[in-house]
């Protein structure tokens, strides 16, 4: 029931102009320094299936100009929440999405179906936010590339093991490719397409 859902939709950002700026700077930091983890919790009060960190990224970056994909199994309350606060159109086809939210990192769709951009406009590719359980720095896969001084290491719990192989392929398609943000309930780490992964 649409009316019912809107009556129960939980709060977004309290002070949008200031909050958007602070959340953006956290995303900017992680995107320009891949492997760096920043804390991004407790800004919004999304439904249970959507992490506060994921919600913060969506509220700061997505709007009516950016079609959003959350998959067939996206719970109704998550869809309502994002549609209400971001105003983004929800799309069923992966290739139409500017942003995608994957609620469970162990259950990945075919990432190559997302828009990879084209050679003349590689910026039109999708940004994919994947919810995972844990992110630890200092061990795990090795990351190198722009934004990383020597190398970074992160170990991600709750992420399908095939992801890293897929992401390597993603890097090899540069300048095309997806940009990925991994989110735990309270933290994010970003993996732009420039990141080279060594498992």
């Amino acid at each position: 029931m649409q009316e019912n859902a809107l009556n129960t939709v939980t709060p977004g950002l309290k002070n949008p102009a200031q909050d958007n700026q602070r959340i953006f700077r956290a995303i900017l930091l992680t995107m320009s320094r891949p492997g760096t983890v920043t804390v991004l919790g407790n800004w919004a009060e999304p439904p249970t299936a959507l992490y506060p960190a994921t919600a913060a990224v969506c509220l700061t970056l997505a709007d009516m100009d950016t079609p959003l994909w959350i998959g067939k199994n996206g719970p109704q309350d998550v869809q309502t929440y994002l549609r209400f606060h971001c105003g983004s159109p929800m799309v069923r086809k992966q290739e139409k999405a500017s942003f995608a939210v994957i609620l469970d990192g162990t259950d990945l769709p075919d990432l190559t179906l997302f828009n990879q951009g084209d050679l003349e406009y590689p910026d039109r590719s999708a940004t994919v936010i994947i919810q995972v359980k844990t992110i630890e720095v200092g061990r795990g896969v090795k990351l190198t590339g722009p934004g990383i001084k020597n190398e970074m290491q992160i170990e991600v719990g709750g992420l399908h093991p095939d992801f890293w192989q897929d992401f390597r392929q993603n890097n090899q398609n540069f300048p095309l490719g997806l940009d990925v943000i991994l989110a735990t309930p309270t933290e994010i780490v970003s993996l732009p397409r420039t990141v080279q992964v060594e498992v």
């Binding site: 102009a17 200031q18 700026q21 956290a26 900017l28 983890v37 720095v137 722009p146």
Partner: protein, 316 residues
């Protein structure tokens, strides 16, 4: 467990500051949707280093050519806990720098500074400061002409294809013509660079003296062209190579003189005509660097002269 590596992340501090800025404007002057659009473009620009991301540039309360691209970037990046520095030709005290600084103090309540080390965000047009940048700084450039291939190909449809196909031979032809005509590469500013071994990029009108400062810089560099509506970026620790030839390697400018005020030999010098007798002097273009050196006691050969009080930053 929370991990914060590298730069201190003030952005993630969850306190809500009640702004004391003027209520007539939204925080940062631009509306939230515009800032979101610009922020998305910045993130894509970082993900594709050197590639020019088109964005829906807005009219700003100043004419094109006065830094509307950089201002839109600053408006989307700055928060009330930032410390903001603006330089124009390396100087903090020129009209353009002063008015941009005042503008953001008014619409974002940001603290401003003239000291390079203190600043968290530095907006610039022509220079990269002499003092090495650090991990937690963001450089924002005002760019007049973002397309490095524009001088050799006027059509956007063609330059876009050239970038797509990495078809950059013509850039070397341009540099070669310099050598054929002048015996050396005579391009002194907007000297093209190759970023992360892929895209050729124009580093805005900085002198080539500053090009090496972009290579593996610990700071993030974001470029905004207001009229041409393009945003591009060089992430920290990214390979930035100035184009050259094996037998004509890239070289930066050097001067026979030192700065007349602080005696610096390692900084970018401007030549200033002093009077009708044609007397001239060389002086640091980076005013903060020069002031800092003089405070430390370094004095150049002309520091004692009294008829150049304005150059010394002394108010009459």
């Amino acid at each position: 467990m929370n991990f914060i590596e590298g730069a201190p992340c003030r952005a993630a501090d969850a306190t809500h500051i009640q702004s004391t800025q003027e209520d007539e404007y939204n925080f940062g002057y631009l509306d939230e949707q515009t800032k979101r659009m610009i922020r998305r473009a910045i993130l894509k620009a970082i993900a594709i280093p050197g590639y020019q991301v088109p964005f829906a540039g807005r009219e700003m309360p100043m004419p094109y050519g006065w830094g509307t691209g950089g201002i839109q970037l600053s408006a989307s990046v700055l928060g009330s806990d930032d410390i903001f520095k603006v330089i124009d030709q390396g100087a903090d005290d020129t009209t353009n720098a002063v008015s941009i600084r005042k503008f953001f103090a008014r619409v974002t309540n940001v603290n401003t500074t003239e000291r390079t080390e203190e600043a968290s965000v530095i907006q610039t047009r022509h220079r990269i400061p002499e003092i090495p940048l650090s991990d937690d700084q963001i450089m924002i450039y005002q760019v007049p002409i973002p397309e490095p291939l524009r001088w050799v190909e006027a059509r956007e449809s063609e330059t876009r294809k050239m970038h797509a196909l990495e078809e950059y031979g013509v850039m070397h032809v341009q540099l070669y013509e310099d050598i054929a005509r002048h015996g050396r590469i005579a391009t002194n500013f907007m000297y093209p660079v190759k970023v992360n071994d892929r895209y050729i990029m124009s580093p805005s009108p900085i002198p080539k003296f500053d090009n090496p400062k972009l290579h593996m810089s610990p700071a993030l560099h974001i470029f905004g062209a207001g009229r041409e509506k393009r945003i591009y970026a060089v992430p920290p620790y990214t390979i930035v190579k100035s184009l050259d030839f094996e037998d004509h390697p890239f070289e930066v400018e050097s001067w026979d003189n030192c700065c007349g005020l602080c005696g610096a030999k390692d900084s970018y010098l401007d030549e200033v005509i002093l009077n009708n007798e044609g007397e001239r002097m060389f002086v640091c273009s980076d005013t903060d660097y020069c002031t800092h050196r003089r405070e430390q006691g370094h004095l150049g050969p002309m520091a004692a002269r009294e008829d150049i009080a304005e150059l010394k930053g002394e108010r009459a």
